[in-house]
Symmetry: C2
Subunit: 340 residues, 2 copies
């Protein structure tokens, strides 16, 4: 039974809930290009259990093999104090900033041993967290010796979308890294190779709930005393979701609470060999668990999304309405304060 | 260059215009199911020139053949005073009503001769207009002897949408009939067999411009004096678009004019043998021209649309925002009048 909300954004979410499942579709076989295109048309995710189980990477990769193939090579590593690369974090003066990791080149074996030891022996007090997560097509570049172990494209998505992936990314880390809630302008085919990934997913029209804020941009930098500090970057503002769907916030207003109850975050864990279609503009927060060797490793394929049609303009409308509503609330607050 | 409107509905239309062509895509070959699905995903129309030129119906139908096959059969005919079946029209007391045609069974040959004579010799003063347009799967029912001349399904849409058409409709009329601007909950494959159809098309997010009004329902009925009169139907209200994109209206306010300028109606004429994909929820107004024999004939396939995903809820949002805005304007007007 549908309760009709008078707030158009609330009734949008209600209608979406009425017409869509709260849980992800699970396939037990790779879809055909046409079947895939039906999910793209709906902008709805699916997971394929064992969809990449027969990949060379799934069959052969492990700590020994990775070290062998990448022996002597240097790779870009994201270093953070809390496993929070590309996340909102409080700066020195208490402001919420969008903080990017400290990036440095490390010997691949040293990097891998670091994350494994940390995972197996436990994290030392204040020990930094490392994550290989460059998202710049790294598997076809710095990790190119590993590239032959995965298909150069995902046939169903390449055929359906009529173009090859824009980027193929390798992700290697341990359970201390978490990727904060965000969205990308990509159709994403995400493949788990070792360990597990835990996704929290929300559709683009959850925008009114994610508390997007324009944050000043910053970087973690080594502080010279074995720690990391936050350094602001001049003149770069980033609109970024600041809601963490896993944290019970204090002091959330009635209005916000009501709105949040209308969003039903979808949760799915990918096991080694599983594949996920993460549709363009879906919000995702990603955490991870390691395999018995103490690592977590995944590969994803990013395809440019389609901006034509009605979908992108309509998502933009939801954003504009939310901003208008938020500005209205701020104006009300100011008016009230001035009365006092 | 994009001018950013502060009205979210205006900036929606502007963004849509920036990202989409104002004219229809023309294909010169039937698409594959996958190619078709890409258009469905975008909710964008296309026409295929000659896409049905090889159909038996395209090759064989004509006045002689139709009469031969349908000889002695009675068919449902929509009778109206002005060629306006299923249209807004003024009732006896001046109110705008949603008026359905008078429907009656006629001998097929008599019906066909009537429309041909009217087309060829010209319409007599106040002569009624007849149109076979039942939209109830008539080609597989009352016109079933003609059904073997068309494919039982359109392979690309049946395969892509994974279901057979809900209805296959035959349309036979002359140039005096016009189908008023409206939308349907169907993915529509429209095929011109004889004569021409002239479509005016607008995407679902043109909703703020179509002036949907809740109209009381009525029927044309024979008045017993050779004419037709409007008779209201009790208790049936129909929300219906009341904007006619071909009529220069007087007294359109600044606001409405600005909005209308942001909608770019797409026009396309189907020639005999052409095929149109008319996506679900697109507004369409349809007029027609006859072939040298004096008739216009078309067949269309209606597939149920998909309500899951984000698209339908988002179209609903546009509707709710428009209604909210219109209610706001009415409230302003009342407040102003009360001040006077
Ligand atoms: O695996 C992760 O940590 C994040 C993945 C992600 O954000 C992406 O694939 O876009
Ligand atoms: O051909 C016509 O007159 C109208 C067609 C139409 O409205 C439809 O196919 O939905």
């Amino acid at each position: 039974m549908t309760f009709i909300h008078t707030d158009p954004l609330k009734s949008l979410l209600q209608t979406y809930n009425d017409l869509n499942s709260a849980s992800i579709t699970i396939l037990d076989e790779i879809p055909s290009p046409l079947e895939f295109m039906r999910f793209v048309a709906l902008n709805r995710p699916f997971a394929v259990r064992g969809g990449a189980a027969d990949w060379k990477a799934s069959r052969e990769w492990g700590v020994k093999k990775l070290k062998e193939v990448m022996s002597g090579m240097r790779v870009n590593v994201a270093v953070t104090p809390k496993g929070n690369a590309d996340s909102p974090a409080r700066g020195p003066n208490g402001d919420l900033l969008f903080v990017k990791p400290h990036e440095e080149e490390q010997d691949f074996t040293t990097f891998l041993d670091f994350i494994i030891t940390q995972e197996k022996n436990g994290r030392l007090p204040n020990q930094e967290i490392r994550y290989a997560q460059t998202q710049n097509d790294n598997l076809r570049n710095e990790y190119s010796p590993l590239y032959p172990s995965v298909p150069p494209t995902i046939p169903f998505s390449r055929i359906a979308l009529a173009h090859s992936p824009e980027a193929i990314n390798l992700w290697i880390g341990n359970s201390h890294s978490v990727t904060a809630l965000h969205k990308d302008n990509y159709e994403n085919i995400y493949v788990q190779i070792l360990g597990q990934k835990h996704f929290v997913l929300m559709p683009p029209l959850a925008y009114p709930c994610v508390k997007e804020r324009v944050l000043r941009s910053a970087n973690y930098v080594r502080d010279g005393k074995g720690g990391l500090e936050i350094k602001e970057e001049e003149g770069r503002d980033v609109p970024f979701a600041t809601w963490d769907p896993d944290v019970e916030e204090e002091g959330v207003g009635e209005e916000e609470r009501e709105m949040r109850e209308l969003v039903r975050p979808m949760r799915v864990t990918l096991e080694a060999g599983d594949m996920l279609y993460l549709p363009a503009l879906w919000y995702h927060k990603v955490s991870q668990s390691c395999n018995e060797e103490g690592i977590c490793c995944a590969v994803n394929y990013w395809h440019d999304m389609e901006f034509s049609g009605s979908f992108y303009p309509l998502c933009n409308l939801v954003r504009n309405l939310t901003l208008e509503k938020e500005r209205g609330k701020i104006a009300d607050k100011i008016a009230e304060q001035q009365k006092l």
